[in-house]
């Protein structure tokens, strides 16, 4: 009797997993199929329509600045990652290891501010960037990306650093290690998982975001992938859903692989940072 119940339970779990897998894989499969479908219109495309063409993938590279956008996004993503890691770890190190006046208030401020997306004060950011002549530049966009994620990341990394026993730095201090030696040789090597997480999150941000580049970038040759392929379906006169599907898949595949490859670190990052209490 108990065994039967147990079996039913396991079956129910499998059922749940299967249904969920269908819900997840269904739309993805459809997108993959759509990217191979002739024509531009997708509305009538059903799940059972199996026509096949590689035209859209060819068009991506021959008729559109897709490669250029890919390069742009990669440069942005890489810079964002590098700068974020440097600034965030420096800041988090200070907040984790040093005492100074007003620290409590600053921490509170960070906690409040990390809840606001840059988008909320976008008019002001736009005006500021235009005063600095940074509209339509990657530099301007990078400033906003790095500062935008700074509060949350700092909070996260500080949490991780807090968990590294201070006895380690104290021992090093007795041995005559300076501030930076402690930072580079004690803290950072122990913080690799969270660094991977910060790197991954800041690297993927420019691939996913499309609001800020819409507002800050202007020229077609400077667009990021998200903005570029979004415009293929955004205007009523020029919707091209199949091309969009092809373009979107080529963005999603590498990012997905990156996530799958680093999934251990993601869990560590999420748990150690967000969960730590």
């Amino acid at each position: 009797m108990n065994k039967l119940m147990h079996k039913a339970g396991v079956f129910a779990v499998y059922l749940l997993l299967a249904i969920n897998a269908i819900l997840v894989l269904g739309p993805i499969t459809w997108t993959v199929m759509a990217s191979f479908k002739p024509g531009v219109n997708l509305f009538s495309s059903s799940f059972t329509d199996f026509s096949f063409t590689l035209d859209h993938y060819r068009a991506l590279f021959t008729d559109t600045p897709y490669l250029q956008w890919y390069a742009n996004t990669f440069v942005l993503a890489f810079s964002n990652m590098a700068i974020s890691i440097i600034v965030v770890t420096m800041t988090a190190f200070i907040f984790s290891r040093y005492r100074f006046k007003g620290k409590r208030n600053v921490m509170m401020g960070i906690l409040v501010i990390q809840m606001f997306p840059a988008f909320l004060s976008i008019t002001a950011i736009y005006v500021l960037l235009s005063k600095l002549n940074l509209i339509d530049t990657f530099t301007g966009l990078l400033f906003v990306y790095v500062t935008g994620s700074l509060p949350f990341m700092t909070w996260l990394v500080k949490g991780y650093f807090d968990a590294i026993p201070t006895s380690l730095d104290e021992a090093a201090k007795i041995d005559g290690a300076g501030h930076l030696t402690i930072f580079f040789e004690i803290i950072l090597p122990l913080a690799k998982p969270i660094l991977v997480f910060v790197g991954l999150t800041s690297f993927t941000a420019p691939w996913m975001d499309f609001i800020l580049p819409t507002l800050i970038l202007r020229s077609e040759e400077k667009m990021t992938l998200a903005v570029g392929i979004f415009q293929w379906i955004a205007s009523n006169s020029a919707e091209n859903y199949t091309l969009f599907s092809a373009g979107a898949l080529l963005v999603a595949i590498p990012i997905t692989l990156l996530f799958v490859a680093t999934q251990k670190h993601i869990t560590v990052g999420l748990v150690s940072g967000a969960v730590k209490e």
Binding site: V112, F230, F244, T267, V268
Partner: protein, 431 residues
């Protein structure tokens, strides 16, 4: 961060030199670094004093002649919004200068002659102010791109910066006090939009957060079940929505769920009429939440899967000895332990969803149209409404007011969370 107060020294009858020449006393006492710094501040002030005053004046007037054109030639005028920004910067600098001046005097009063050389002074400065030096890049960035924009947003809400009549540089912008706030709360069509959109924003944020958490929890539990095979594969499949850029999946859903889209054509195949997933006011809201859960559940799945491994095995073993059922174990061990661990993430997710622009805009663009609203549809949340006000209608002033409302609301929640956290563990996180 300064050194502790020394014993008060014999009072100098004369005011210290620093009152007139910043850093003077410090230099006389051979505190070269401090002295030069204060001196530099004063030199900069003297050099830019007129600019500072012009900027402060411009901040008050916001300009009096706009740019215009005679024939093919442009006659430049005042750009009100740039003047506003320069004014804010000028105020920042003035306050910073006053602070530096006061510090300078305070320091001069209690100064003792320096006995160490310049090199050692540098060394001591580095040691003493290491934290400050390291925080400078982040501090400047945060000041320039977080604090300053928020301030400017607040100021813009007090102006008439809106299309068509008040767009610089061809037109001037003026201060209008709290008129925008009054209009938003008093004019019926604005206030009912604010109320309607605002309450839906809260409902959306709460529902999507709780459901995302719930589904993530269920998936994590299912994957932690001892009797399930192929966990790695399942996990990778369920991770996909987290890894695929959200804008891609949202736009795909928009196509799939259209009234005549593929999903409905399957439904029609069974002879059932199309379901208006995105076009019925109530159903569209449900759909927006459901898709939000689709995209967000993996985050909690990963998070909770991690958190589950943090629960000590002994707890379960002990309760098994006590004869607790699996359900009791769940209720008394798993759930509270998990909730305790992910509570901060829940608040974070709430704030994130509260401002989750893409989840709404890419799926429905705020639609379907709500005849009772102004510039907003049934599924618009505050931030998408701001987007429309800003980009489609250039109503920057009203958009700023709505932004401020969001700021205030989220700040309250953040402060509440901070309090709660502090009461949990008083100073460990503040170490």
């Amino acid at each position: 961060m300064d050194t502790a107060m020394d014993q008060p020294r014999v009072a100098n009858k004369l005011p210290p030199l620093s009152v007139f020449l910043m850093g003077g006393t410090q230099l006389l006492n051979r505190h070269y670094i401090k002295g030069c710094f204060y001196l530099l501040v004063q030199i900069l002030l003297v050099l830019f004093a007129t600019d500072l005053l012009t900027a402060l004046e411009g901040f008050i007037t916001l300009g009096d002649t706009a740019q215009h054109r005679v024939g093919f030639k442009i006659i430049h005028g005042d750009h009100s919004i740039h003047m506003l920004v320069e004014g804010v910067l000028a105020i920042f600098l003035t306050v910073a200068f006053l602070a530096a001046y006061l510090l300078n005097i305070k320091d001069a009063v209690k100064i003792t002659p320096c006995t160490i050389g310049l090199k050692q002074q540098l060394r001591a400065f580095y040691d003493e102010h290491f934290a400050l030096i390291m925080l400078t890049p982040a501090g400047i960035a945060a000041l320039a791109f977080i604090i300053l924009p928020i301030l400017i947003t607040v100021l813009v809400s007090l102006t008439n910066y809106a299309a068509p009549a008040h767009i610089p540089p061809k037109n001037l912008v003026d201060w209008v006090g709290f008129r925008n706030f009054l209009s938003l709360f008093e004019l019926k069509i604005w206030s009912s939009t604010l109320l309607g959109v605002g309450s839906w924003t809260v409902i959306w944020a709460v529902c999507s957060t709780i459901l995302t958490f719930g589904f993530g929890f269920v998936l994590a539990l299912a994957l932690s079940n001892r009797d399930i095979a192929g966990k790695k594969v399942w996990r990778v499949i369920f991770m996909l929505p987290y890894a695929i850029p959200a804008f891609v999946s949202l736009l795909i859903f928009r196509l799939l769920l259209n009234g005549i889209g593929p999903v409905n054509s399957i439904i029609n195949g069974f002879g059932i009429e199309s379901i208006p997933f995105l076009s019925d006011p109530v159903l569209a809201k449900v759909t927006v939440i459901a898709i939000g859960v689709w995209a967000g559940a993996p985050y909690f799945m990963l998070l909770i899967a991690g958190a589950l491994t943090n629960i000590p095995k002994e707890l379960y073993e002990a309760s098994e000895v006590d004869g607790a059922s699996r359900f009791q174990q769940f209720k008394e061990i798993t759930l509270p332990m998990i909730l305790h661990q992910v509570a901060p993430s829940l608040v974070m997710t709430f704030a994130f969803n509260f401002n989750n622009f893409g989840a709404v805009y890419l799926l429905t663009e705020g639609g379907p149209i709500n005849p009772e609203y102004r510039f907003a549809g049934h599924t618009d949340i505050l931030i998408t409404w701001i987007y429309k006000l800003t980009l489609d209608f250039q109503q920057y002033n009203i958009a700023a007011v709505v932004s401020i409302i969001i700021f205030l609301f989220l700040s309250l929640i953040a402060i509440w969370q901070f309090r709660r956290m502090n009461s949990f563990k008083t100073d460990v996180s503040m170490r």
